[in-house]
């Protein structure tokens, strides 16, 4: 069973007399355990596609089904709750809550899910250990490097036990060492725990690690390549 399935996805914007096809009839399936990169030049529509898959944007037409649930049918708080339970997000600018510590940031999503405190604490510690930040638990985002913050963001994305992780340009603000370190962690989680990752990026270092690369241009899938790693 596919984790993500899109059928004839279309997203158009009107700008004056022009109609822009940001996503143009995209149908794809992503299976559990895939390490997929959606790549393409700026303006190719990869972020729009990622936003629609993540339930952050509505398609003009077409369907998105996540783990058997058609999310294009969901509205408002239903959609927010679906994201909470099923999708983990990693953003380009880390986007941690600055007034909370690393541990509180990771535990926050589970708190929204209503998980008991003991479970939250155990999983938070486990995840921060997995991303190599067991000693930084009490630090606030401003006391950590960009790489460390992005690792906290990955731990936060995993905390809710989502169906998959959507990562939008996760390495864009990181130096080489931090990028390698982050990709190692994600690849390890993908290999050992079968966690599904979907990236939107044009960073070659990420593309090189991917098992599947979907190239998008002018809103259409140009190439869909699978690699054995």
């Amino acid at each position: 069973m596919s984790v993500i399935k899109t059928e004839n996805l279309v997203k158009t914007y009107t700008q004056g007399d022009y109609t822009i096809h940001a996503v143009d009839d995209v149908s794809l399936e992503i299976q559990k355990g895939e390490f997929t990169v959606i790549c393409g030049p700026s303006g190719s529509g990869k972020t729009t596609l990622l936003n629609i898959i993540g339930g952050l944007d509505e398609p003009t037409s077409g369907k998105v089904t996540i783990h058997g649930q058609e999310i294009t049918q969901l509205k408002g708080n239903q959609l927010i709750d679906f994201r909470l339970q099923n999708i983990g997000f990693v953003f380009q600018a880390y986007n941690l809550i600055p007034v909370l510590t690393a541990k509180e940031n990771v535990g926050f999503v589970m708190l929204l899910q209503g998980r008991p405190e003991a479970e939250r604490n155990a999983r938070t510690e486990e995840l921060l250990k997995a991303v190599g930040l067991e000693k930084e638990m009490k630090k606030k985002p401003t006391q950590m490097s960009g790489g460390q913050q992005q690792r906290v963001a990955v731990a936060r994305a995993l905390a809710s036990r989502p169906q998959f992780i959507l990562a939008d340009e996760p390495t864009a603000n990181l130096d080489s060492a931090s990028t390698e370190n982050l990709l190692d962690i994600m690849a390890k989680m993908n290999e050992e725990e079968g966690i599904t990752f979907v990236f939107s990026t044009h960073d070659q270092r990420v593309i090189d690690r991917a098992k599947r690369v979907i190239t998008v241009e002018d809103g259409k899938i140009l190439k869909d390549e699978h690699f054995k790693k």
């Binding site: 952050l56 708080n77 927010i80 994201r83 953003f91 986007n95 809550i97 007034v99 708190l111 929204l112």
Partner: protein, 409 residues
């Protein structure tokens, strides 16, 4: 909910300078609002007390005919005086009372003349009932001159160029309708909270009054009564009225309705001041929180992305906004309470504008006073204003598109 409160609370302290400015403005706003109200209430209370203590007392009794036409012959029927005094003396609420003989006349000096209300009094009884003896700016209280002493107000002294020891000619009609004239010596100059009163009223000895009007029997035009509780004035005057004939007792509010209107106007004015201050504070809070919401667009977008529902985001911003004023309000209230209590005891010396205050009927030493309900009122106003002020930024936060907000620079 606990975590939402925790995040909201920490957000309050995120930009200490900005939150500090809001706290400061709420503290100063509350303090200033209450202090201005306390100053105004203090002045009003002094003005009211001064007018009651020096002029009106709490209850007055006049002949029915005098109320219709205040002429010399319209005195209280002499055969009713004993009954009236018995009735007054037997009322347990009455502390002191005094009787006065009154006529209208003219005061003349080389500098001019003035129409006057001439009151013949018993100095000792008057001293117990009114504060004229304590309000002397110069001279003495019927102790220096044996021959026809007179106490005049400051405004009259200025108008007729009089000083202590100088002569004032008084002329008025006697009981036979003939004009009589007599020279009086200014023994003292008083100042009450009313400029008009000080310009047109003077006190002479009742014995001199009787002699000049050539009355066969005692002529009493007015009883002024002080009771133990101002609030009982109406009840006591009504009770007296049931037991006397040919005369009527009136409470202070009936004699000087402008004083009771002042109370109502002051309460309205006080609420208007508080509403204006709270309104201004609310605008400041809205502005600050809108800036905060704008600055945190990416963070709010992220919260919506990862699954924080709109109600929680709304509540978080509401709590954060309300926190700003709820923390500052008690500090402002305490500061106001402290300063109002302090200046209520030691007073504020406004000697530099004493003349202007005198003309407005207020002493130059102002003692702050406030109705305790003003603290409750402003607290309720602040709470309501905070909630209303919180809605604007909270709604703004909800309008963010998470996909766009999360990428905001």
């Amino acid at each position: 909910m606990k975590t939402i409160i925790k995040i909201a609370w920490r957000n309050v302290w995120r930009n200490r300078l900005r939150s500090g400015v809001v706290f400061g403005s709420v503290v100063i706003g509350i303090w200033a609002g209450l202090f201005v109200v306390a100053m105004s209430q203090g002045m009003l209370a002094q003005q009211k007390r001064g007018m009651l203590e020096s002029q009106i007392s709490n209850i007055q009794i006049h002949a029915d005919s005098y109320l219709a036409d205040p002429k010399l012959e319209n005195c209280i029927p002499p055969n009713e005086l004993a009954n009236i005094e018995t009735v007054i003396a037997s009322a347990p609420e009455v502390k002191h009372f005094v009787k006065r003989s009154i006529t209208m006349g003219t005061g003349t000096t080389a500098s001019g003349f003035s129409n006057l209300k001439i009151m013949g009094i018993d100095p000792e009884k008057e001293k117990e009932t009114t504060t004229i003896s304590e309000r002397l700016l110069s001279g003495s209280y019927f102790t220096t001159f044996k021959n026809k002493p007179v106490l005049i107000g400051r405004e009259l002294a200025d108008e007729l160029n009089l000083e202590v020891g100088k002569s004032l000619n008084l002329s008025f009609q006697n009981i036979n309708g003939e004009f009589v004239q007599a020279g009086f010596k200014v023994e003292g100059i008083f100042a009450t909270p009313s400029l008009q009163y000080d310009k047109s009223n003077l006190f002479i000895l009742q014995s001199d009054f009787m002699e000049l009007v050539e009355a066969d029997a005692e002529m009493i035009h007015e009883y002024a009564i002080v009771i133990d509780d101002l609030e009982k004035s109406t009840a006591v005057s009504e009770s007296i009225n049931q037991k006397i004939n040919g005369a009527k007792a009136q409470d202070w509010a009936e004699i000087a309705p402008d004083i009771s209107y002042m109370d109502e106007a002051s309460e309205l004015g006080q609420n208007i001041i508080l509403v204006i201050i709270v309104f201004a504070l609310a605008f400041g809070i809205v502005n600050t929180m809108l800036m905060a919401v704008l600055e945190r667009k990416r963070e709010l977008g992220m919260l919506l992305c990862i699954g924080m529902n709109k109600t929680s985001v709304f509540l978080m911003i509401m709590i954060e906004t309300i926190c700003l004023s709820v923390i500052a309000a008690p500090i402002g209230l305490m500061l106001a309470w402290g300063t109002i209590t302090y200046f209520g005891i030691v007073g504020i010396n406004l000697e530099s504008v004493g003349d202007a205050l005198y003309k407005a009927g207020i002493d130059s030493m102002v003692f702050t006073a406030i109705d305790p309900w003003a603290y409750v009122t402003i607290t309720i106003f602040i709470l309501i204003a905070s909630i209303i002020a919180a809605i604007v930024p909270a709604r703004k936060a909800l309008k963010y598109n998470p996909a766009e907000a999360v990428r905001a620079v």
